[in-house]
């Protein structure tokens, strides 16, 4: 075999939980390190090799200056993989897109926030650069990570399941939470996590994004049956997927237009002190 392919990890706006999952996976599956060489991984090592073929990008693009960094990664890498919901969808970061960015900056960083911290609406990295593969989830599933790496090394294109989470949930023989009074977005969410949340009694929040045939109208009916208002349902639909809902707004899957918002204030903060990082 020729030299091992070099891989590198990068983070943008994220909690680094997905990178931690990668570190976990490397510990449980040592064989992986026989197949690849890691040249950059801030979470795990200090060296910074600039010569890599596969780039794993965690986090969403949330400011103008992220774009140049993303483009540079794309320039170098022969393949870019979005790692986790933030990179794949925009993720929880995109919740802020519900409000004008100035309000968010002031809310989070105080009165000077607008000038001190750069920010704009959160987007998946695919909004800026071409992405070759995606590992969804918040956080990612370590087995899926290993599978995707392996397939890429074999020169195959990793494909995501394009059916809903309910498939995996039924195979685990779970009683359906939606019939037990617990909200679950499984019918519109892309499978692949083995329905981990419903299996532990928590409804799915859609962190893997929607599957291609997501039936929002009847999902809404199911949630109305739980007594949710349309406004509350919209909030559920946009927890991880605000950006997607914005993109789809022509098909009106939300009861209210996602942008621009009419109510421009933010809920009153109980921790009003500006946070400095």
């Amino acid at each position: 075999m020729s030299a091992k392919p070099k891989i590198a990890f990068f983070d943008f706006t994220s909690c680094e939980g997905c990178q931690l999952t990668v570190i976990d996976a490397l510990q449980t599956h040592l064989g992986l390190l026989d197949l690849v060489e890691i040249v950059q991984f801030r979470e795990a090592m200090s060296e910074k090799g600039q010569n890599y073929q596969i780039a794993f990008v965690e986090g969403s693009c949330t400011r103008k200056s992220d774009e140049a960094r993303l483009l540079a990664i794309r320039e170098q890498a022969s393949a870019v993989v979005a790692l986790g919901a933030c990179a794949h969808l925009g993720g929880v970061n995109s919740m802020k897109n519900r409000w004008p960015i100035e309000n968010v900056q002031t809310y989070v960083y105080g009165q000077n926030g607008k000038d001190a911290y750069e920010s704009y609406p959160a987007r998946p990295i695919s909004a800026v650069i071409k992405v070759d593969a995606v590992i969804p989830g918040c956080p990612i599933d370590r087995h899926e990570f290993l599978r995707v790496v392996q397939m890429m090394l074999q020169g195959r294109t990793p494909r995501l399941p394009d059916y809903p989470l309910c498939v995996e949930c039924k195979l685990r023989e779970n009683a359906c939470l939606n019939t037990l009074g617990i909200l679950c977005l499984g019918p519109i969410t892309r499978a692949g996590c083995e329905a981990i949340c419903p299996s532990y009694g928590d409804g799915c929040e859609g962190c893997r994004g929607w599957h291609p045939e997501a039936n929002f109208d009847y999902m809404r009916e199911i949630l109305r049956g739980h007594g949710l208002s349309d406004h509350e349902i919209d909030a559920r639909f946009t927890m991880f997927n605000h950006y997607q809902m914005e993109q789809m707004s022509g098909h009106a899957p939300l009861s209210e237009a996602v942008a621009p918002v009419t109510d421009t204030s933010l809920p009153t903060s109980s921790f009003a002190a500006p946070k400095e990082d």
């Binding site: 599956h29 064989g31 992986l32 197949l35 290993l146 392996q150 090394l153 074999q154 394009d162 059916y163 809903p164 309910c166 498939v167 039924k170 195979l171 023989e173 779970n174 009683a175 359906c176 939606n178 019939t179 037990l180 499984g186 019918p187 519109i188 599957h211 291609p212 045939e213 039936n215 109208d217 009847y218 999902m219 009916e221 199911i222």
Partner: protein, 355 residues
Amino acid sequence: MSLYILSKEKLPAFVEALQAGFRVVGPVRTPTGFAFEEITQADQLQLDYTTTILPPKKYFLPQRETLFKYHTGSNPEGAQSVDVEPVFQDVQPTVIFGMHTCDMSGIMLYDKVFSEGFRDEHYMTRRDKMVIIGIECLHPCDDASFCKDMGTLTAPPIYDLHMTEVDDDYLIDTGSEKGERLLLNYSEAKMATTDHMQRLGRVLSAKWPRFRMRLKMSKDQTPSLLTLGYNAHIWEELGERCLACGSCTNVCPTCFCFDVQDELDINMQDGERVRVWDSCQLHEFALVAGGHNFRESKASRVRHRLMRKGKYIKQVHGLSGCTGCGRCERACLVDITIPGTLNALHDEMKVESGV
């Protein structure tokens, strides 16, 4: 064949005795209902269960089954080589306790599907080791059941033993020599008397009125109804509602579609071929190489499922493709049901023909 009697209090001893030589599977209580599971203690067995989310088919056709393992390498001359080693997964002596008559009808269909024409050695090898002990349903599981319409209210001839609760006893019919041997070797069952037979007859005739009919037509009419209603309007309505979640097929005791995949190990040399349950309600299912999708719309997929259940399977295998177990109805979050659909079709066709 012959009728035996075993008092209820002697059942745990029968289960325990069987455990010495078999994996014993049966309905157990779960936090929300019942499920078929391996029985480790005799008192877990709940023969008065209602229904389960997945039918016992999961023991006959595992959700994920390795068909063979392969190893790729190069021989001493440097040429590529592939070694293939067949795998027979989950083949072990197993007693399935407490199968309802509808679920036995599902297995009767599987037995035909996997043995006629192309004989599936993986299924058949496993099946040979299975012992089926049925239980007569004396009450419908719930409102979703329509076994009476589908004619599955009595046991089909595939059981090794079949039990009916009669007061404090089980009256046990033997369906095979294997079953009879097990009963005599592992339990204290005795031959039933004429009196027992009369009591059994009374229990069986008393059950009939407890089950309601739900279809507006007889099951023999469903193939022609479906043929004539192929272009009916209801399919579009159902397609709009359907979540394409596949739950209806995953829980169905007569669905047997699977997908075959190759999985390569991390060492990139070894791998295995597996088959996994698949569903015709999913978008990818009908996607063939080249990207053409034979059943692109959800409406056509819902219709396809109904066609299989009410017509195609019957035409190909001579048995009904639906047992009336009601599982798909319980699993569907948008209330798409077999009786509801067939009845709506029936009504639509009646209006069309002006009858």
